[in-house]
C-alpha cells in the first residue's frame, strides 16, 4: 500500500467530530436544534428581529441557518457569519420558546466554528487579540489599564482631550462611551491581596468565594466593595482566590472557545476549595454556570465543570436565599429595575433583586415596561455592532419611566450602556447596582446608630 492510499483511508485531522460543513471539533449540538419546530414564538422576543424585521436576524432563522450548515446546505462563510454575529446572545428567545431551545448555546457553538474557519484579520483581529487574549485574562495588565484610565481622568488629560475636540478622532459610539467612564478606583483584588479571608461582621455563618471579574474590578471596584460589605454584614466570610481570572464570557461570545476553555480550567482550579462562588455580574455568572457546555468533548473536565457550576450563585439570589438582613434605615427614592439578560433569561433570576430593593424602607419601585428587553450592551456588542446596539438602546430608553431617580440592575455591561443612554437622551437617572443600594442602606443605618450612640 502506498503512502497516499493509507493517507486516504485515514480521516483528515480536521474532520474529527465534524458535522456537515462544520469542519472543526465542538460543532453546534444537534440535540439543541432538534426541539425547534419553527413555530415563530421567539420572533417578537428578539431585539434584532424587532429592529430589522428580517428572519435571518431572528432566533428561529438563526437556528435554521445553523442547522443548514450541518446539513451541508450552507458553507461557513461571511454571509453566514453576519446573522450569527449580529445576535446579541441576550437569551430572550430561550425564555419565549415553548420547547426550551437553547438558541444562545447554538449561537456560541456556531461562532466557535466561524472563528476557526475565518480568523479575524486586520485591525479587528489585532484589537480583539489584544483585549481578549492580552488584557482581560491578565491581572497585571488589567490593573495597568485601570491605572492609565485613572491617570487619564485625574491628570486633567480627560478634560484636555474633551476640550480640544481631540476626542472626535474616535468613532462616535466610542466618544459616547468615553463620556460615561466611571471613576476608576482601587481594585479589590489589589486591596485584599494579602488577606486570606475577609471576616464576617459578627458571627461567621458561612464562607463564600467571590469572583471579582476582570472589567468589574477595574471599572466598578466600588461594586465589588459593596458586594463584600453586604456579604460580611450578613455573616459571610469572604475569600478572594488570587489565581482566579476572567470568566471567559467575552471570549466565548466572540467564538474563541479555546481561550474560553483555558480560562474556565483556571477558574475551576482557583475555586476548587470554595463551597459557594458568588458573582455580581450577570454575564459572568451565566458563563460560569455554563462551563460544562465548553467541555462537551472532554468528559473529565466536563464533570469538574459541572461540579463547579453547581456552586455558582448570583449575589442577589444568594442574599435572598440566605435570608439577608432587612435594612432599617430609609432611602427615600423612586427606582426602576432593568433585568440584565443574563440574569433574567440566562439564570431565571427576576424576583430576587426586586425583593432586595423592596426590602429597603422608603424605596418605591416603578415598573419599567419590557424590563427584560436587552439594552444593547451584550458584552462587547456595543463596540462591535454600534448601529444595532444604538437602536436597541434607544428603544430601551423609551421604556425607562420619566419620574424615577435611579435605574438599578445586576450587570456592569448594562450599567455602562444604560449610563450612555441616560447621557445621550438627556435623562437624569443614576445607574446603580442592586447590591450598592443595599450597601448604602446598611451604611446609613450604621451612621444613624453611631450618631445616636
Amino acid at each position: 500500500m502506498s503512502l497516499k492510499e493509507s493517507d486516504l483511508k485515514k480521516d483528515p485531522a480536521c474532520t474529527i467530530n465534524s458535522l456537515g460543513n462544520y469542519l472543526w471539533s465542538d460543532p453546534p449540538d444537534e440535540n439543541k436544534w432538534a426541539d425547534c419546530v419553527h413555530c415563530g414564538m421567539c420572533l417578537e422576543s428578539c431585539p434584532t428581529y424587532e429592529q430589522t424585521g428580517q428572519e435571518q436576524h431572528s432566533p428561529r432563522g438563526r437556528v435554521h441557518l445553523i442547522k443548514s450548515v450541518a446539513e451541508g446546505k450552507l458553507e461557513v462563510n461571511e454571509a453566514f457569519a453576519d446573522p450569527v454575529f449580529a445576535c446579541l446572545d441576550c437569551r430572550a428567545c430561550t425564555t419565549a420558546c415553548p420547547a426550551d431551545v437553547d438558541v444562545g448555546g447554538l449561537i456560541e457553538e456556531a461562532r466557535g466554528q466561524i472563528r476557526q474557519a475565518m480568523p479575524l484579520t486586520g485591525w479587528k483581529g489585532v484589537v480583539s487579540k489584544f483585549f481578549l487574549q492580552g488584557v482581560f485574562p491578565n491581572q497585571d495588565r488589567l490593573h495597568l489599564l485601570g491605572s492609565l484610565l485613572k491617570f487619564y481622568q485625574k491628570s486633567g488629560l480627560q478634560k484636555v482631550v474633551r476640550k480640544t475636540r481631540l476626542i472626535h478622532i474616535m468613532p462616535e459610539h466610542l466618544v459616547e462611551m468615553e463620556a460615561i467612564l466611571p471613576e476608576v478606583k482601587q481594585p479589590v483584588r489589589k486591596k485584599y491581596k494579602h488577606a486570606d479571608v475577609i471576616k464576617a461582621k459578627g458571627e461567621t455563618k458561612r464562607t463564600v468565594a467571590l469572583l471579582t471579574g476582570c472589567i468589574m474590578d477595574v471599572m466598578f471596584s466600588d461594586i465589588n466593595e459593596a458586594t463584600i460589605n453586604v456579604l460580611t454584614r450578613n455573616g459571610n466570610d469572604v475569600v478572594i482566590p488570587q489565581n482566579q481570572t476572567c470568566c471567559g464570557a467575552l471570549h466565548v461570545h466572540a467564538g474563541d472557545r479555546e481561550m474560553g476553555r483555558k480560562l474556565a480550567k483556571q477558574n475551576i482550579e482557583a475555586f476548587k476549595d470554595a463551597e459557594k462562588v458568588i458573582v455580581n455580574a450577570a454575564g459572568c455568572g451565566c458563563m460560569l454556570k455554563e462551563y460544562p457546555e465548553l467541555f462537551r468533548e472532554d468528559p473529565e473536565w466536563r464533570k469538574k465543570a459541572e461540579e463547579f457550576s453547581a456552586k455558582v450563585e448570583d449575589i442577589s439570589k444568594y442574599l435572598h436565599d440566605t435570608d439577608f438582613e432587612k435594612p432599617k434605615a430609609e432611602i427615600k427614592t423612586r427606582i426602576t429595575y432593568h433585568d440584565a439578560c443574563h440574569l433574567a433569561h440566562g439564570q431565571g433570576i427576576r424576583e430576587e433583586p426586586r425583593n432586595i430593593l423592596r426590602s429597603i424602607p422608603g424605596v418605591e419601585i416603578v415598573h419599567m415596561p419590557n424590563a427584560d428587553r436587552c439594552c444593547g450592551s451584550a458584552g462587547i456588542y456595543n463596540i462591535t455592532n454600534p448601529e444595532m446596539a444604538g437602536a436597541i438602546l434607544e428603544s430601551k430608553m423609551k421604556n425607562v419611566p420619566e419620574d424615577v431617580e435611579i435605574i438599578s440592575m445586576g450587570n456592569p455591561g448594562c450599567m455602562l450602556q444604560m449610563a450612555m443612554g441616560v447621557l445621550k437622551y438627556g435623562r437624569n437617572q443614576r445607574i446603580v447596582h442592586t447590591v450598592q443600594l443595599l450597601d448604602w442602606a446598611y451604611q446609613k443605618e450604621d451612621s444613624l446608630k453611631e450618631g445616636k450612640g
Binding site: V37, G53, S68, D82, P98
Partner: protein, 485 residues
C-alpha cells in the same frame, strides 16, 4: 450590517432594490433567503428569489406592478407562523414581507374600530388599547408574534372564537393591492355590512391568492366586565367530550372551551410553561366564561355541576389573573411544546360536529396505531375544531411521508363524519389535495374562476389553496409556459 451596495448583476434584484429603498430592504443571498424557505409548516421548503421589505402601500404596489410586468411570481408574508404553508415560495417567488409596515394607524373608541398596517402584531393591538378597557377578540395561539395581515389572509381563529367569531367577523375595511399593482379600498370608512357583494368576506381567508392587504380596519370590543376560568381533569375522553356537549346544551356560551388529550398534556408539561397537570388523565378541559358580572358565578356553578355529573376527577376555578395566565400560556404554547417530546410534528386542523368527538378520537387513535406514529390532540372543543398533531422524526427515512399520510387520513375522518378539513389554519400547500374530500372538480373550478378574476396570471401565491383539477391541466400548462417564457 454588511454591504452597502447590491452585489449581484441580476437586474430584477437591482430594480426591486430601487423600489424599496436600497440594500437594507432587500435580501437576495442564499444565506439570508434560507431563513424564508418555509413558514410554520416545515415539510415543503423552497428558496425565494428575493425578499423585499416595503415601508408603505405605494412601495408594495410598485413591487407588485414590477413583478406583474416582468412575470415574476410573488407572494406576501407576515410573521411566517402559518401552519399550512401559505407563505412558502413554491415557485421561487419574490417574497413581499410586510413586517416593517407595523404601525397602529388610529384607534376610534367611539366607533369601536382601529386601523392597523398588516405587519402589526395581533397581541399588540389588545395591549395598546387595554388601558382604555378595550381589546381585539381573535386570539390565535401565535398571537404573541403573528401579524394581523396574516390573520386576514388565513381568516385566523383562536381559543376565544367560540363566542366571538373568527377574524372575518372583526374586519370592517381593507386596503388591498391587487395582483396588477392597482390599489383598492373595500369596506370604505369601516362601515359594516355594505351593499353589494361581500368582498371583505371573500378577501378574508383567501390565503393571499387574491391580493395583498396593506391597511386593515378592525372591530375592537369593550373588555368583558368579568371573566372566570375553569380547569377540569377527566379520566375518560368520552366523559370530557360529553361534558362539552352538556355545557353547550345548558345554554352557556363559554368564551373558550378547550380540550387537550394525554399526549398533548405530556408535551406541555415537559415544555417551558408547565402547570402541573396530572399525567395519568385522559383529557383536560379549559373553560372560560365572560360577560357582565351578574351571571358569571351562576354559569360557573352550572359548569362545575356538569363536570361532576360526567365523573370529573378534579375541577378548579382560577384563583387570580396570574393563575389564569399560567393556564393559558400552557395551552397556547401547546404546538411549539411538541418540540419537547418529538423532533417534528405536523398539525392538522379538522372540524367535526361536537357530538362525533369520541368517535373521531377513537378513529384517530387507530390511525396512530396503523402508522406507528404518536398523535396528540389539542382541540377547540366548543366549536368542534380539532388539531391532531402527528409526531414524527423527519430524519428517519419515510417517516415524513407516513406523517403526511396519517394527517390526511385524520382529515378524511373529519370529512366523513360531516365536518371539514380546516377550521382556522387554512389549506395552503398542506391540504390542497384534501380539498377533494369536500369539493368536486366543478366546485373547485368555480372557485379558481373567482381567483382568475383577481389574479388572472396566477403570479400571486400560485399553487396554494386548490388542487389542480384534472380538466384544467392543459390550461394551466399553457399559462405556465407564458409565465416562464
Amino acid at each position: 450590517m454588511r454591504g452597502k451596495e447590491i452585489q449581484t448583476k441580476d437586474k430584477h434584484i437591482q430594480n426591486l432594490a430601487k423600489i424599496v429603498g436600497g440594500v437594507q430592504s432587500i435580501l437576495y443571498k442564499k444565506e439570508d433567503l434560507l431563513a424564508y424557505d418555509c413558514d410554520g409548516f416545515t415539510i415543503h421548503r423552497h428558496l425565494p428569489k428575493a425578499v423585499v421589505f416595503p415601508k408603505n402601500t405605494q412601495e408594495v404596489a410598485e413591487v407588485v406592478k414590477y413583478c406583474n410586468e416582468n412575470n415574476l411570481p410573488f407572494l406576501a408574508r407576515g410573521a411566517g407562523t402559518g401552519l399550512s404553508g401559505g407563505a412558502i415560495p413554491l415557485n421561487g417567488e419574490v417574497i413581499i414581507s410586510l413586517v416593517r409596515m407595523k404601525r397602529l394607524l388610529s384607534v376610534d373608541l367611539e366607533n369601536r374600530r382601529a386601523v392597523v398596517e398588516p405587519g402589526f402584531v395581533n397581541l399588540k393591538l389588545t395591549q395598546s388599547i387595554s388601558d382604555k378597557g378595550y381589546y381585539y377578540a381573535p386570539d390565535p395561539s401565535s398571537q404573541y408574534c403573528c401579524t394581523i395581515g396574516g390573520n386576514v389572509a388565513e381568516n385566523a381563529g383562536g381559543a376565544h372564537c367560540l363566542k366571538y367569531g373568527v377574524t372575518t367577523n372583526h374586519i370592517l375595511g381593507l386596503e388591498v393591492v391587487l395582483p396588477n399593482g392597482e390599489i383598492i379600498e373595500i369596506g370604505k370608512n369601516g362601515i359594516p355590512d355594505q351593499p353589494g357583494y361581500d368582498l371583505l368576506g371573500l378577501l378574508t381567508g383567501s390565503e393571499g391568492t387574491l391580493g395583498i392587504v396593506t391597511k386593515i380596519t378592525v372591530r375592537i370590543l369593550k373588555n368583558p366586565e368579568a371573566k372566570q376560568t375553569v380547569l377540569a381533569y377527566f379520566d375518560k375522553v368520552s366523559d370530557a367530550s360529553q361534558a362539552v356537549s352538556d355545557i353547550i346544551s345548558e345554554g352557556i356560551v363559554p368564551a373558550a372551551l378547550e380540550m387537550m388529550d394525554k399526549t398533548a398534556i405530556e408535551a406541555v408539561e415537559a415544555a417551558a410553561f408547565p402547570v402541573g397537570h396530572p399525567r395519568d388523565i385522559e383529557a383536560l378541559l379549559l373553560i372560560e366564561v365572560d360577560g357582565i358580572s351578574a351571571g358569571i358565578d351562576e354559569q360557573i356553578h352550572q359548569i362545575l355541576r356538569v363536570c361532576k355529573n360526567r365523573n370529573v376527577r378534579e375541577v378548579k376555578v382560577a384563583q387570580d389573573e396570574k393563575e389564569r395566565e399560567r393556564w393559558w400560556a400552557n395551552r397556547k404554547t401547546g404546538f411549539g411544546a411538541m418540540g419537547a417530546i418529538s423532533p417534528d410534528y405536523l398539525v392538522q386542523d379538522g372540524v367535526i360536529p361536537r357530538s362525533k368527538l369520541p368517535e373521531v378520537l377513537e378513529r384517530i387513535k387507530k390511525i396512530s396505531e396503523k402508522y406507528g406514529l404518536r398523535i396528540a390532540n389539542i382541540f377547540h372543543a366548543g366549536d368542534g375544531n380539532l388539531h391532531p398533531l402527528v409526531l414524527f422524526d423527519a430524519k428517519k427515512p419515510g417517516e415524513t411521508e407516513k406523517a403526511l399520510a396519517a394527517g390526511s387520513e385524520c382529515l378524511k375522518v373529519c370529512a366523513d363524519v360531516g365536518g371539514s378539513i380546516t377550521g382556522e389554519h387554512g389549506v395552503g400547500i398542506e391540504k390542497r389535495e384534501e380539498m377533494r374530500f369536500i369539493f368536486n372538480d366543478e366546485e373547485i373550478m368555480a372557485q379558481t374562476n373567482i381567483r382568475d378574476v383577481f389574479n388572472p396570471k396566477n403570479l400571486l401565491n400560485a399553487g396554494k389553496l386548490f388542487p389542480t383539477p384534472g380538466r384544467c391541466v392543459e390550461v394551466k400548462k399553457e399559462r405556465k409556459e407564458v409565465i416562464t417564457s
